[in-house]
């Protein structure tokens, strides 16, 4: 059941990102060319300092490239204002971070509603959607819990629910299993595979090969450049390994 097709969703050309701190330049990305089609599940791997997080930040519109072209669907993002980029992040993208990044002292539902709030969805609808999302990640009985009262795995599921709230095309996950025990980590990967099956494009940054192997394609970065771009041959399908989440 593959929903992959050949519509390019993300297409970057000659993408570079150079950081300047106190006059010294650090190269984050150097002339990266990359096309990600709709429905793909791409793992970005590489040693630390290889630029994989930088790539995710630029692709996720959290940061602007120093040079190069970024086409999202058929839109060139070069001339987008901060406000327009905020809207792109809000409507087209969902983020899952290693550190979960939930608002403490707020309930699970409250956290899931955040992207809806900034999308201008009105209140009864916000609660409706958030409740559907919380159900999707099997946390219905925790909906009114404060996020500080949840385990790491549960927190990351809330983050996934939040990423899905506006039904985005792409989900960016930055080391989503990095702070979790292996069982919780597998649950998260299982959810990501399920979402990908439903048609969401997933871009996953990791440094662990077994995590990368759950994707369909692996992009290897080294020194800010794409070193290798391969299809995953022996893909791990978590739910078919007898894994119960």
């Amino acid at each position: 059941m593959s929903s992959e097709n050949n519509m390019p969703l993300i297409s970057v050309k000659n993408l570079s990102k150079i950081y300047e701190t106190d006059g010294a330049e650090t190269v984050g990305l150097k002339n990266v060319d990359l096309v990600i089609n709709e429905g793909e599940f791409v793992a970005v791997v590489g040693p630390s300092g290889s630029g994989k997080s930088t790539l995710l930040q630029v692709l996720g519109c959290l940061d602007r490239p120093t040079s190069g072209e970024y086409m999202l669907e058929d839109k060139n993002l070069k001339d987008y204002s901060d406000k327009e980029l905020a809207e792109v992040r809000n409507k087209k993208m969902g983020f899952v971070f290693q550190q979960f990044n939930l608002l403490p002292r707020q309930s699970v539902l409250e956290n899931i509603k955040l992207p809806l709030l900034y999308a201008g969805v009105n209140e009864p609808e916000r609660t409706n959607i958030a409740q559907r999302m919380v159900d999707l990640v099997d946390l219905k009985d925790r909906a009114d819990f404060l996020t500080t009262k949840l385990s790491g795995g549960q927190k990351q599921r809330v983050a996934i629910a939040r990423a899905l709230a506006n039904n985005p095309k792409i989900i960016f996950a930055d080391e989503p299993t990095g702070s979790l025990d292996s069982k919780s980590g597998e649950t998260i990967l299982d959810f990501l595979q399920e979402l990908n099956d439903k048609g969401h494009t997933v871009v996953l940054v990791t440094h662990e090969s077994y995590v990368a192997n759950s994707a369909k394609r692996i992009v290897h970065l080294r020194d800010g450049n794409i070193d290798k771009d391969e299809k995953v041959i022996n893909r791990r399908i978590i739910s078919k390994e007898g894994f119960k989440r």
Binding site: S53, D63, A86, F97, N101, L114, L117, Y118, G120
Partner: protein, 413 residues
């Protein structure tokens, strides 16, 4: 994003740091409290003095001898001057000269020590005619006032104030009793009703006698120190004043108003100058209190800046999830304004409570007739000033917050 949602987020943001929020608004609370307090007390004082002025007769006009004092240090001139005479009084009584006058009364006065048996009381004697009781709206609790005949015959019949009666007699029925001062014997024929502390003359503490008697037996001069008049209506006062001036200039052969050896003052002028003084004082004290508001505002700005740094990650996350710069700006600005406005409201409540206490203290311990009033204008001022402070001192931290990058969500640990 809707304003209601921004408001919700801001309230939530503040309630998660409740202790800090309370500390933050302390400066504003203190500032608005003092402004409210100063405003309320200033207002009460003004009302009290004005109502006293009214109580003494709003239509009253006074003529004093000498030149009009040019300032507070120039008051001596009028006391030593003898330019007002009986002849002036007679001219002023004539309707053909002053068509708008209702009553005219001469006043002479001097310090005396009154005694009865072994009791003595140091006070002031006022010599006048029966009209003065009407001009000053003085009522009697016992007996009656002296008459025009008493004045003509230089009689020793006097009316005494409530406190004089209490000090010298300490009993209720004292009509017909004798008192002594300046070697003369006087007979009490009336007692004034208690009037309470007044800012001008305390009629509870004076003895009122026919002016002829006071002039000749006590003071030993023939001129008049004051002439009190009352106009037929408030509208008639300006006309009355100019009639008085021309009558007296006629009598004194004065052609140029610069050479006037008398001056005329009205109760209204007095009331106006009292209002001006209390207004100036209120504004002055209010501005001192206003400085504490600025300090409070700077305090808010500081804490907001700390808060922005501390919440870098939250700001970055919100931006990553789609918040625009203006969403973040609005959130933090709203937080600041909520802080200052609630500080302002607390301050108004606290200031109101304190001025109520001050009213009670003033009434109970100083016997002042203070009325409790927080002017609505003061409340509106308090709320709008605190709102403005929220905007002024909240905009900089809010801008700092809005300029944070969404990257901070990932970076800042």
């Amino acid at each position: 994003m809707r304003f209601r949602d921004t408001l919700k987020i801001s309230v939530k943001g503040l309630s998660t740091h409740r202790g800090r929020s309370l500390l933050t608004i302390l400066g504003i609370v203190i500032g608005i409290t003092s402004i409210t307090l100063v405003n309320a007390i200033g207002n009460s004082a003004k009302n009290m003095i004005l109502s006293e002025v009214e109580g003494l007769g709003a239509n009253n006009v006074f003529i004093l001898p000498g030149k009009e004092p040019t300032g507070p240090t120039d008051a001596g001139g009028s006391i030593l001057n003898n330019s007002l005479t009986i002849r002036d009084l007679e001219s002023l009584k004539r309707k053909s000269n002053l068509p708008d006058v209702a009553k005219v009364a001469p006043v002479v006065f001097g310090p005396i020590i009154a005694s009865r048996e072994s009791e003595t009381y140091s006070t002031m004697v006022i010599g006048t005619t029966p009209e003065l009781f009407e001009i000053y709206k003085l009522d009697l609790s016992q007996g009656e006032t002296f008459t025009a005949d008493d004045v003509a015959q230089l009689s020793g019949n006097v009316v005494i104030g409530k406190k004089v009666a209490d000090e010298l007699f300490g009993q209720s029925d004292i009509i017909g009793e004798k008192i002594k001062f300046k070697e003369g014997n006087f007979r009490v024929i009336g007692v004034l009703e208690e009037k309470g502390q007044s800012s001008f003359v305390n009629f509870d503490e004076v003895i009122i006698a026919p002016y002829t008697t006071v002039q000749q037996q006590i003071l030993g001069f023939r001129y008049i120190q004051r002439i009190g008049l009352t106009a037929t209506s408030p509208e008639a006062i300006p006309g009355l004043v100019s009639d008085i001036k021309s009558t007296l200039r006629d009598n004194h052969n004065i052609e140029d108003s610069k050479d006037d050896d008398f001056f005329v003052t009205t109760m209204k002028e007095l009331a106006d100058s009292v209002s001006t003084v209390t207004d100036v004082l209120t504004v002055l004290l209010g501005s001192v209190a206003g400085i504490s508001l600025v300090v409070g505002g700077v305090g808010i700005m500081n804490i907001m800046l700390v808060s922005v740094t501390e919440r870098t990650r939250e700001i970055g996350l919100r931006k990553a999830l789609g918040a625009t710069n203006s969403d973040i700006l609005k959130q933090f600005l709203t937080e600041a304004v909520i802080l200052t406005v609630s500080g302002g409201i607390l301050g108004i409540i606290l200031g109101g409570g304190l001025s109520y206490l001050a009213t009670i203290v003033a009434n109970r311990f100083w016997g002042l007739n203070f009325s409790f009033a927080i002017p609505i204008s003061g409340m509106i001022l308090g709320v709008s000033v605190s709102t403005a402070i929220g905007f002024i001192f909240g905009i900089y931290p809010a801008r700092q917050a809005s300029k944070r990058s969404p990257m901070d969500a990932l970076r800042y640990e």
